[in-house]
């Protein structure tokens, strides 16, 4: 089973799903060193976006947010993949600079399909989003991607 997503920046990423119901301002709203959301009263306040598959409706705030996304990636504290409700000029541009896989999808669908925190794979090559199902078998990431791609291709047909 997989969900189709629209690819903006190609690549494959894996990580626990982190869903934000609200837009995020990376500039001022996310700590540049740790990737922890610091915006007061934000639904994700105190949580880290680092190594997550971050799902959010859109970006907001200063366009400097692009540089923050880039800076996080350099430090290794960026999200491993990003899914947005729509393209914006801040986060999506930052993800492209930083080489972070990014796709566009219907956020409500993702919420009904996956649970927050669940480890999922964003295949922003074929435009697919699916559960990591083979993790318990201890397969290497490469084999894992191949295997789950085959798996998802098969499931997709059914």
């Amino acid at each position: 089973m997989f969900l189709r997503v629209k690819v903006v920046n190609e690549g494959v990423a894996k990580g626990p799903l982190l869903i934000s119901s609200q837009p995020i301002s990376f500039f001022g709203g996310v700590d540049l060193e740790t990737g922890i959301v610091v915006e007061k009263n934000h639904p994700l306040e105190g949580k880290s976006v680092s190594k997550k598959i971050l799902v959010l409706p859109s970006g907001k705030g200063s366009t400097v947010g692009s540089y923050v996304v880039y800076g996080l990636a350099k430090k290794g504290t960026a999200p491993s993949g990003i899914i947005m409700g729509k393209v914006d000029s801040i986060i999506s541009a930052g993800a492209i600079l930083a080489g972070i896989p990014l796709a566009i999808a219907d956020i409500r669908k993702i919420c009904s399909f996956f649970k927050d925190g669940e480890v999922i794979v964003l295949d922003a090559k074929r435009g697919r989003l699916y559960r990591e199902t083979l993790k318990e078998y201890g397969l290497s990431p490469n084999i894992f991607f191949e295997a789950s791609n085959t798996f998802s291709r098969y499931s997709g047909k059914v």
């Binding site: 366009t63 880039y70 350099k74 000029s89 801040i90 930052g94």
Partner: protein
Amino acid sequence: MKTGLNEQVFKKILDSLQTGKKEYVRISSAHLSGISYLNIGDAGLEFLEDLSRSGLRFKVKTTINPGCVDFDTPMECDPKVFEKQKKIVDSLKAIGAIESLTCTPYLFDNVVKKGQKIAWAESSAVLYANSIIGAYTNKEGSLTALASAILGYTAKSGIHRGKGRRPKIFFEHRGELNDELDYGLLGYAMGLRAGAKIPYLRLTNTRNLYPAYLKQLLASFGTSGGAPLIWIEGVTPGFSKVRKPRRKIVLDKHELESVKETLSEELPSNPNGKIVFITGCPHYSIEEIENLNEALKNVRKLSVEAWVFTSRTVYLEALRRGLSENMSEKGVRLFKDSCVMYCSLKRSDACIITNSVKAAYYLRNSFRLRTVLKSFNEFVNTYGVG
């Protein structure tokens, strides 16, 4: 992470923002925002340093916005901030930018002509280029302007298509607009109402239609609104041929007053910090500095400090004409390289009086300072001595 900064990456950024067919227009000029260290911080500095090492160079004439320091007065700000601001400018120079450090590139450093296709960030300059000069630029973000400067072309969207230039909302202002502040308030009120729509503006009284006042109108419109252009009747090239929206929204002085209340408060009778009058947002032209001198002719001294921000080019011209000397005698300081978001104001408890609606908006919301809106003449009448 490997720093894969190459032309492909920047093209992808432009592509990602175009829905449907990807088309481009060649540009002949670029202007970048996101220069101030207080704005882009370490994240921005690191990115620009990476970029300067990537081997990429600007393909078109590229100027840059102000930073947050005056490079001739280093003692006024945190040495770390000063040094990092210098690094930002040095990186940009290495990529090929002109060290203009101004938000008014259209005056000297990056003069553009009617019909010229350009990619400018800095909303006040975008609005000036489109609405007064008749050039074509979208309201680029820091990064899309940078991408366009590197590529030499930009996305053929928005204003670069005929459809994207049409006015979608019609404003008529009735009554008097007496000074720069009135124009600024009108622009701000229009932006709040227009959202992202391009307005057509009719002024029933055009007695005071000076470039300096229009600058205020456009800058404050760019603060509250999203459109890159205002069709100003009698001013914008081609205004007579454009089809106006049928419904008219009338703006009057009540609207301007209610806008003013949101950005201006009474000065506390016993302020903790110092009171400073700030002007030059957008940067003053040499004519505006001349006018300021004229207005101070009958004043011996000002009882509070007045700071005027301008570009390097205008600063040097003011020196040459002996204006800055005259001004400093009366307590007016001329700043260059920086804008009103000046390093020493951050985390200060200064009370700001300003004639710029845009300055009031950002000093209030970004620097959390108290702001009072007064026109320059009002200010001189209140604080001028002798």
